[in-house]
């Protein structure tokens, strides 16, 4: 059986190093794109089983832009997306103490940085399973 392939789109190299190694230890094959433009291009190759997506990148919350674009594409929208974001921290001054709402992509999951490794693996596994079940239908 071929290895499960994950794509990370996140602009923070140190953070990426962390979650990448967690995921690789769990035997996933992991690719990374460090800006939204390259990230979307990589995703379009169709090689990935799951996307881990950051929010604050480039000129602002470009992760939201990417997520919406994926959702509009009939093929790409089948890819499960796990949003991992520090947005609440990063712009806490705007909406202090208020929750992140992933309304822009209602079907997917969201984790806030810093992420607990076990929780990360759990969510990834659950999303992959769900996607597989959906495919089998």
């Amino acid at each position: 059986m071929t290895q499960t392939r994950l794509l990370i789109i996140d602009d923070d190299p140190d953070y990426v190093d962390g979650i990448k190694s967690i995921l690789e230890k769990a035997d996933y094959e992991v690719d990374v794109a460090y800006n939204p433009k390259d990230g979307f291009k990589a995703l379009e190759t169709g090689k990935y089983d799951l996307l881990l997506l950051d929010i604050m990148m480039g000129r602002g919350a470009e992760g939201v832009m990417v997520a919406r674009k994926i959702n509009k594409d009939p093929v790409l929208r089948e890819t499960p997306v796990l949003i991992i974001t520090g947005v609440r921290e990063q712009i806490a001054f705007l909406f202090p103490g208020q929750p992140v709402h992933p309304r822009f992509l209602p079907t997917d999951e969201l984790l806030e940085k810093p992420v607990d490794p076990n929780l990360l693996l759990e969510k990834v596994e659950a999303l992959l399973k769900e996607a597989k079940a959906k495919k089998a239908e």
Partner: protein
């Protein structure tokens, strides 16, 4: 009558009210109607871009969309607002993904922006839409003998918008001449006024103001003319601070170009808001 959607921006609501009224009234005399944009919002000027450009584009796009709904090009009298609006318009036109995303946000206010309008600074309306010939023709009280330092500042010329001359522009001088006044040779006319630093880096800002004031004095100007509320406030209202800090004695009036234009067109000082300055312009305007 030619009509534009007029975006006064936050500073023109009160602090630069005289720029507001003098712009609208002089334009009217010259056959241009400036219709205030309905329920406009703050465009964020430059401060936004520190944090979130997508947010900044969205705020500007709301104003652009309201103007487009009216079928009118947008005019801004503030140079910072103008720069913001100009580049947001350009980027949205260039990048379909950005346009799509911003339009998704605009839906919340039942708006959409299709990139069908242009953005102008108000100076551009007088210089290019009306034109010097028309202005000269309408001038009834030429400002003879008045030496005016035309202060461009940054953002009507920089960064470059449409391939215009940015190192040695002449349109402000030409406009001053058209009013019958005498444009001073004013080398620091393109130097930044430091408005964006006045609250955050006070000493640097005051020093920058000083350089410009000194240059106006050296060029024997009676008055500095500005085309931006931020420049006007910065160059005028901080003169006492500058004097305190550097032991100088500047008393240089700083007036909106539309106020001078209005005088030349025969309008009353009161109507143009002359008399609201902190550094009085009375000594030079006595004779008009």
């Amino acid at each position: 009558m030619k009509k534009f959607a007029y975006f006064p921006g936050c500073s023109l609501e009160k602090i630069a009210l005289s720029y507001n009224t003098s712009s609208v009234e002089t334009a009217k005399i010259l056959g241009v109607e400036l219709q205030e944009l309905e329920d406009w919002n703050c465009c964020g000027a430059t401060t936004y871009f520190h944090v979130d450009q997508l947010l900044a584009y969205t705020l500007v796009a709301r104003n652009l969309a309201i103007a487009e709904k009216e079928g009118l090009d947008l005019v801004a009298p503030c140079s910072a607002c103008y720069k913001n609006a100009y580049f947001t318009n350009k980027y949205i036109k260039e990048e379909p993904d950005l346009a799509e995303h911003i339009n998704y946000a605009l839906e919340e206010d039942d708006l959409q922006f299709n990139g069908n309008i242009d953005v102008h600074h108000i100076m551009d309306i007088f210089v290019n839409e009306v034109g010097m010939d028309e202005i000269k023709e309408k001038v009834t009280k030429p400002l003879e003998g008045l030496r005016v330092a035309p202060y461009y500042g940054c953002q009507i010329v920089r960064p470059r918008k449409n391939g215009e001359e940015i190192e040695n522009p002449q349109f402000f001088e030409e406009l001053v001449s058209a009013m019958g006044a005498d444009p001073a040779d004013f080398p620091e006319r393109l130097r930044c006024c430091s408005a964006s630093l006045i609250m955050t880096s006070r000493r640097a800002a005051l020093d920058m103001v000083r350089v410009i004031l000194q240059n106006a004095v050296d060029s024997e100007a009676d008055v500095i003319a500005t085309a931006c509320p931020l420049c006007q406030v910065n160059l005028e209202c901080y003169q006492p601070q500058v004097n305190d800090e550097f032991g100088t004695d500047y008393k240089m009036p700083v007036i909106y170009f539309t106020q001078l234009l209005g005088l030349a067109l025969g309008m009353s000082k009161k109507k143009l808001g002359i008399g609201k300055e902190l550094v009085s312009a009375a000594p030079i305007f006595g004779e008009f």
